[in-house]
Amino acid sequence: MLDEALHDIAAADTLAALQDLRVRYLGKKGVLTQRLKGLGQLPQEERREAGRLVNLDKEKVERALDERRAALERAGMQAELERERVDVTLPGSGLAHGGLHLLTLVTNRLLDVFTSLGYEVVGGPELETDRYNFEALNFPPDHPARDAQDTFWTTDGRLLRTHTSPMQVRYMETHEPPFKIVVPGRVFRNEAVDATHEAQFHQLEALVVGERITMADLNGAIKEMAAAFFGEGTRTRLQPTFFPFVEPGAEFAIEWTHPRSGKLEWLELGGSGMVHPNVFKAVGYENVTGFAFGFGIERLALVPYGIPDIRAFYQGDVRVLQQFRGRL
């Protein structure tokens, strides 16, 4: 009987068949159960030995059933895992995947530099008045300096700001020194559009005002920015130039290795200088000095990434936009 049972158990290939065998041998009316019940009919002296043998068989059958069950479960899991196997080399579902505009990436990086240097970030309107864009910045009416900034005038006498500098005036009108601010923003020039000129572009402007801010502080700020953006030890250069709202004025350049030519050269970045006394007068500041500098963000995006045409920034071709990935 035992051999038959063990054979049947080993042959059971489903959990259901195994359950049937359990019932057949161990159930209430099962073979072994019946045999245990039948022990009572045996003589007293045989009963003990026979009982021991039946229990032995029962244990063996139970163990066999348990082992077989575990084996079948293992095999079942194995089969299920096998069924669930996927071809991981098939492509994943196409989820929408976003990204930031290259100009945003470059601006963010610049703002990281300036906020780490303790500057406040401020923004302002794009549609401006003559007062903020020119007059309060010491551009006299009818002065050729205005020609350098071909202006989009509106029919109601306002203008699209030609630089981020109006925010110097707006900020100083509503805040007291000392402070350090940086103003990123969109600006506009009514120029013929070509590969290097756009009618709209972005600038970043820094303004620092305090009791005694010097040109050395200006130079130091530019050097810090250059080091953070282009790497430690980047050389910078100041040269005299003219902007109505600074005196003395300077244009600044950084020395860098041109990614295409591989040559070390000066990259003219922007204008800077000490805030002109007339600008302080326009906002009612006294007994302070300050520096300001500003530059075009497109230039910092175009040159290092080797983008041949500035117009690419505004053409909205996702094949172009999505090339600039990596961080948010």
Binding site: G98, D156, R212, G220, Q239, P240
Partner: protein, 795 residues
């Protein structure tokens, strides 16, 4: 401003450093060097000759047989130039000479384009053997003029090798800033260099004969507007011989990029660049009774200028005029801009009157702009010419004309106005260090200022009075003088420091960095469009009509400012028609009644592209879900109210409420609008920013289990979920923790016109478990409210 290096030597002598060092110095002085041009000299094999004879060749309509001589022997040359006349001194390119600009009759001169030189050969033309060619300035590669042969003054040595007379040279091109009108001349550039180098400056007007104003010269000045013309001088010269200029003068003008005309005009142009003072030579015959007038024009008055254009004057224009002989006055030039054509120097001019004046920069600037003229005179006047220069400049012109065109300068001179008083500026030498952090010793500061033409008087300890020269009207305050000292000393000596400052920057996000990052992470690509657009572009997208218009737009499609971000996004979507799907956003400003910052979003194509298995199409609930996710990231609630909005599908559009405030719109693009852009099913949203963010506040997590009940309600399809939710939530009582729909069904199993919404209610008591009896009670209230509203419970 072009600065021939060799010419600079005349001002600075041996003190002028080599070219490369000079370029560095100029850059360091703020006279930014744009480039250095290497101009070639005259080609080899070209000699100075006289034309002895010139006669038409039979059978040709324009060719001439000329006989030319180099002073030793004569030779025959065929020439087609109208100015190849007997008596002209010109240049013969002998056979074998290589001409850089030949055969480039159109466009720019050959030398600019690196054209291959053409070798001159002996050849027979119309039966005449031509021993070389008479060449134009363009063919010789000297300056841009191809309409005749080059001609020279009589003092040019016959037979001379032109290459010796006209060697190659270097010309520095400066990009001047608008404040430095004084540097718009050789003298001004040289003065800066001299001050920097501490070298003496040779002033070409030094010792010039200024003329005697008391001596009668037969000329009369009538200045009707002394405000616009504070200084006017007129100097007569009789017996001039108008003709070609000497080689040195032509060469100077060519190096400046000018075309030599005749010796008188060339001198006035030369002095414009030499001293920065424009002047004009009138034919003495043009001045009725020797009277030269300066007055405002009469509206509608006309004058033909040297550029051969007739302009109609405006009554604000300032003109040079002369009596018309009939009691009136006629304009003969536009003051400070350009002289008149008919009254200027001509070939037969014998006597001239040289007008040198100072004009109000604003008057000149407005005239030039009004008539769209850009001239060497006007750009100097509008930037500012030394108001005290006219007398000396007049003397310089007169003496140079006499030198190159002969004649006799009148002893007398006619003048109006007086020298402008010099401006004095209080200056503290200590402020140089205060503002620039550079230590410049006082004697050095003084030497720089004096080198620039300032007079320095020491009034006391750290108190100077600096008298500014009349040509430096950009110097008016102490800071201007600090800059002068600083740029002379050199910005390269400025240190670098970081100021100690008590300033704690407030943390805010004016560039909407967080919003941009969230949208990008939620799958959207950022784009940037122009703020300029057109009325048609706005109308096409059904966006609000423009409220801000540009007065001089770059075209009608850029004539107004955008009122919405949607038109730009739609254009971008149309542009990207090849992309499988699009999820775009833009952060930007729109210009309605006020300027407003917004974020615009656009979705098109599948939200999930399944590629090789089913994906997920875009629909309203996906994009609403995106905005809900965005709201959740801000810690606020987002709500949509159905609305019929311009440009949107009337049944799939909503006003968006953010944290209880209306912020914008969301919906499916109206199919008609979509068709205009060639777009399939497209969704757009536009929200005003900054979007409110909830203040973070800690809340204890609810630990009690909730009791859940489901209920399906059958209601007319016009009843919105929001209405139903409001009804049942109100009835469910205060312990309702959440209420979400989990199935929405319309179809065969429900009556037409009705819809089944299955709702999942969750109830929770903050402190204890709810009993079934309690929850069943709440649900009975819900069900009776539903039935009272006339809806059914679906079982």
């Amino acid at each position: 401003m072009r600065v021939p290096y060799e010419w600079l030597k005349e001002f600075l002598g041996d003190a002028l450093p080599p070219l490369e060092r000079t370029v560095d110095l100029l850059d360091g002085l703020g006279l930014a060097v744009e480039t250095v041009h290497s101009l070639p000299g005259a080609p080899r094999g070209v000699v100075v000759v006289d034309i002895l004879e010139a006669e038409a060749i039979a059978g040709s309509d324009h060719l001439l047989r000329t006989v030319v001589t180099d002073g030793v022997r004569s030779t025959e040359v065929v020439c087609g130039a109208a100015n190849a006349v007997a008596g002209a001194r010109t240049a013969l390119a002998r056979p074998g000479a290589e001409l850089p600009g030949a055969h480039h009759e159109q466009g720019d001169a050959g030398r600019h384009q690196g054209a291959d030189p053409v070798v001159v050969t002996e050849r027979t033309i119309h039966g005449v053997l031509s021993h070389g060619m008479l060449a134009s300035p363009r063919e010789l590669g000297l300056f841009e003029h191809g309409a005749g042969i080059i001609t020279f003054a009589r003092d040019t040595p016959l037979g001379a090798d032109l290459a010796e007379l006209w060697p190659a040279e270097e010309v520095i091109e400066l990009e001047l800033t608008p404040n430095r009108g004084d540097a718009f001349s050789m003298l001004g550039v040289a003065r800066d260099l001299a001050a920097k180098l501490g070298a003496p400056l040779r002033d070409p007007t030094h010792g010039a004969d200024l003329g005697d104003p008391s001596s009668d010269d037969g000329l009369t000045l009538e200045v009707a507007d002394a405000g616009a013309c504070p200084r006017l001088t007129l100097r007569g010269l009789a017996g001039v011989q108008v003709g070609p200029s000497p080689v040195w003068l032509q060469r100077r003008l060519a190096a400046l990029g000018l075309r030599p005309r005749n010796n008188v005009v060339d001198v006035t142009n030369y002095v414009t660049f030499e001293l920065g003072q424009p002047s004009h030579a009138y034919d003495r015959r043009a001045l009725t009774n020797g009277v030269l007038q300066v007055r405002r024009a009469v509206e509608g008055e006309q004058v033909t200028l040297l550029n051969e254009e007739q302009i109609t004057l405006h009554d604000e224009d300032l003109v040079i005029a002369t009596p018309d002989g009939a009691g009136g006055s006629r304009a003969i030039g536009l003051a400070g801009v350009m002289g008149g054509l008919h009254d200027s120097v001509a070939a037969d001019t014998d006597a001239i009157a040289i007008e040198v004046a100072h004009f109000d920069p604003r008057v000149v600037r407005r005239s030039a702009r009004r008539h769209k003229l850009v001239t060497d005179a006007h750009v100097r006047f509008e930037r500012g010419v030394d108001p005290n220069l006219p007398r000396r400049a007049s003397a310089r012109v007169a003496s140079l004309v006499q030198a190159v065109a002969g004649g006799l300068v009148a002893a007398g001179t006619s003048e109006t106005g007086a020298d402008v008083a010099a401006l004095s500026v209080r200056f503290r030498p200590s402020r140089v260090a205060f503002l620039t952090d550079m230590q410049v010793p006082e004697p050095e500061q003084r030497s720089y200022l004096e080198g620039l033409g300032c007079a320095v008087a020491e009034l006391g300890e750290d108190a100077w009075e600096v008298t500014v020269p009349s040509w430096r009207f950009d110097l008016g305050i102490e800071e201007d003088l600090i800059e002068e000292v600083a740029r002379m000393h050199g910005y390269e000596h400025i240190g670098d420091t970081v100021p100690a400052m008590h300033f704690v920057p407030p943390a805010h996000d004016p560039t909407h960095r967080a919003l941009r990052a969230m949208l990008a992470a939620l799958g959207h690509q950022e784009t940037m469009n122009y703020v300029f657009t057109g009325d048609a572009e706005l109308a096409r997208a059904e966006a609000p009509a423009a409220s801000v218009r540009l007065s001089e737009p770059q075209g009608i499609e850029r004539a107004v400012l955008r009122t919405s971000l949607v038109p730009g996004l739609l254009a971008t979507a149309a542009e990207n028609h090849a992309a499988t799907s699009l999820a775009l956003f833009e952060v930007g400003r729109v210009f309605g009644e006020t300027e407003q910052e917004r974020v615009g979003l656009l979705w098109r194509g599948p939200w999930i592209d399944g590629r090789w298995r089913p994906g997920q199409a875009i629909d309203f609930f996906i994009v609403k879900g995106v905005l809900e996710a965005l709201a959740s990231l801000h810690g606020v609630e987002l709500r949509c109210d159905a609305a019929e909005l311009p440009g949107l599908h009337p049944g799939v559009g909503a006003r968006v409420w953010w944290d209880g405030g209306e912020v914008g719109t969301l919906g499916r693009l109206h199919p008609e609008v979509a068709a205009r852009y060639g777009l399939s099913e497209t969704y757009v949203a536009e929200l005003a920013i900054p979007l409110a963010t909830h203040r973070i506040r800690f809340e204890e997590i609810q630990r009690q289990p909730f009791a859940e009940r489901d209920l399906a309600v059958l209601a007319p399809e016009a009843v919105t979920f929001a209405q139903l939710r409001s009804l049942v939530a109100g009835a469910a009582g205060g312990l309702l923790a959440s209420l979400e729909p989990f199935d929405v069904y319309q179809g065969r199993q429900v009556t037409a016109g009705r819809r089944s919404i299955a709702l999942r209610f969750r109830f929770r008591h903050p402190e204890r478990a709810l009993t079934d009896v309690e929850v069943d009670g709440y649900m009975r209230n819900v069900m009776s409210a539903v039935r009272d509203a006339g809806y059914d419970i679906r079982t």
